[in-house]
Amino acid sequence: MATFYETGPGYPVTESIRVDRVSPTARRIHAVRAFVVLVFAIITLIPVFVMGITAFKSRADVVSVPPKIIFKPTLEGFVFLFTERAVVSKVRLPEFQKKAEAGELSLFERIALNTGQEITGPSDYVDRLKNSLIIAGISTILSVGLGLFAAYAFSRFPIGGKDDLLFFILSTRMLPPVVVTIPLFLMYRQLGLHDSHLGMILLYTVFNLSLSVWLLKGFIDEIPIEYEEAALVDGYTRFQAFYKIVLPQAVTGIAATTVFCLIFAWNEYAFALMLTSDDARTAPPSIATMLGRGGIEWSAIAAGSLGFLIPVVIVTFALRNYLLRGVTFGAIRR
């Protein structure tokens, strides 16, 4: 933005730029555009913002009407999220007060006590998050890895019935997942894959594979075959050529595909709800079940969702350069 306003009439034009990008009209249009984009960005971010502040609100603040923007932040939500609690009986209250005065209570215990509860043990939220990380992480690596090889083969080798195969791969995404959950549930119970990490990893891998094959094939098609031929003649094997030449140039596509696959596996709800119960239950269905117990713990749900966002944000942020870079500046003129 800043650089934009430094070009235009009255400023020296020091780089190659079209007139229609710096003319006074263009500047006004650009300002309007920037404003619209800003408004859209704000609208999009409001739910995230609300979630963020809700996570730090006390029970009373959460339900206040109109919603409070300024409030006294508390960690109540996080305490509720990470712990199992019980109501403290009147009889034992003085005992706790004594402990509190002696400074023997932890931060979490004190906050729980403020709402009249004692902590009875840790909640399973951390386990669920761990399951989500394992299942989404491994299935993403598998679907991108397998997808990369498949896409390379589809892009480079003459394969009999190539178009039909590609269509078949795509067709796995043509019906809504919910439709296959019941048969899958029955199959998984027979195979002993129900509520197992392996089962969920396999499922998400298969589901993401069609996306990754199609996406990556597009990216690999863009890489001219001459590069690999040059490497072959230069004394490299096919796999070395793939590894040294194709892979570095497909990095943009791999990053984009990784993010898409990760987001799908990370957010998936329906399968996880049906096919897992405890050992392999992932975060999305478990956050939703928090709605149930004795009134809605909005702050705990918000805190849980916030924690749930973090890994995807980190991965996307780490790969942002590749995602934004778009095409590489190749040395082959087309």
Binding site: E229, A230, L232, V233, D234, Q249, A331, I332, R333, R334
Partner: protein, 365 residues
């Protein structure tokens, strides 16, 4: 350095015959140009030599070693692509060192060899740049360096100058030729540009319709084309081919009253090839025509083109038969003028219109 031998090498893509069975021997240190219009099979031939394309049948020998079914990496040949195919994600230095790394050379050796070849091509200042930042010519130099650095048995070049600007192409042409003279490396060079082929080749292999039309030195293919295709294809414009009928030492050209007296040393050959008399094509290059008032052939000036040093006249010698004649600038020819000319007897050629093959004096002896 090596000899490359193709024995009955053939390529089919399904029903399509890309290269008809061909025999070709490229001698050690020779610069051979595969020349032909696009789609004639020249690039496929080159790719078969490199191993990037498998042969349908036939044998390829490299220094007597059968390499027909060897992987490209096992053939010890270097390939220069038309679009350079420099790896965009690594520096020029790494691009040049890339083939050496495949051979597992030591760091010192790689450094030394890269320096040698970089000095030879004078691209030392480009080593740390990315290929995408370089000009077309510099990219081509880097591509050549990458080919040279390995000291391969042979170089294969697929239209390496095709993507360059016209004026630059000429200087690169000289550079590549000079490099070949220095290194004396067996080189197979593919091009569709006959000027390039004439300028660079020790021998030219003219291809068309998936087969070899003629193999010969530049002067052989220029002055003694083996058939009508080569006659027309080589030279710009190509050889003039006037239709006529031969009998008793004379060719009566189609249409007007043009009668050309066949030089004595050709009469026996023509008589034998045509069985006494028959239709014939009289071939002569534009520079073989001599304009003179008493020339035996007459035509009307259809167009003139000033080419700088000379004027190219388009002469209509028959209703739809236009031939080219190179004329001195001092002659002023107007469109519509009648021009008479003779043909230099040393530079006239004859072709059989049925078989389209050249009629040669050697065959008559």
């Amino acid at each position: 350095m090596a000899t490359i031998e193709l024995q009955k090498v053939e390529k089919r893509f399904g029903d399509f015959q890309a290269v008809k069975p061909m025999d070709l021997t490229i001698h050690d240190g020779e610069f051979v140009v595969l020349l032909g219009p696009s789609g004639c099979g020249k690039t496929t031939t080159l790719r078969m030599i490199s191993g990037l394309e498998a042969v349908t049948s036939g044998t390829i020998l490299l220094d007597g070693r059968n390499v027909t079914w060897l992987h490209p990496s096992e053939r010890d040949i270097a390939f220069v692509f038309q679009l350079y195919a420099l790896y965009p994600h690594i520096s020029v230095r790494d691009n040049i060192a890339f083939p050496l790394r495949a051979q597992g050379e030591s760091k010192e050796t790689i450094e030394k060899r890269v320096k040698e070849v970089v000095d030879l091509l004078q691209i030392g200042h480009l080593l740390d740049a990315r290929p995408g930042k370089l000009s077309g010519g510099d990219q081509q130099r880097v591509a050549l360096a990458r080919a040279l650095v390995r000291r391969p048995a042979a170089f294969l070049m697929d239209e390496p100058l095709g993507a360059l600007d016209a004026d630059f192409r000429e200087s690169m042409r000289a550079e590549i030729k000079q490099l070949h003279i220095d290194q004396h490396a067996t080189t197979v060079y593919v091009t569709h540009d006959q000027v390039e082929a004439m300028a660079m080749g020790d021998r030219i292999v003219v291809m068309s319709d998936a087969e070899i039309q003629q193999i010969g030195t530049p002067s052989e293919v220029y002055y003694k084309p083996a058939n009508v295709f080569v006659a027309r294809f080589i030279g710009s414009p190509g050889m003039n081919l006037a239709r006529g009928h031969y009998s008793e030492g004379r060719v009566r050209l189609k249409g007007q009253n043009n009668v050309y007296a066949v030089p004595d040393d050709w009469q026996q050959a023509l008589g034998k090839a045509l069985g006494g008399s028959g239709d014939v094509l009289v071939g002569f290059r534009p520079e073989a025509a001599r304009i003179s008032a008493d020339g035996p052939i007459a035509g009307e000036v259809y167009a003139t083109e000033l080419q700088g040093a000379y004027v190219m006249l388009y002469i209509n010698i028959n209703e739809d038969e236009i031939i080219h004649i190179r004329a001195e600038r001092i002659h002023q020819h107007q469109i519509g003028d009648t021009v008479r000319f003779d043909i230099d007897p040393r530079m006239v050629r004859f072709f059989d219109p049925a078989s389209e093959r050249a009629i040669t004096r050697e065959a008559a002896q």
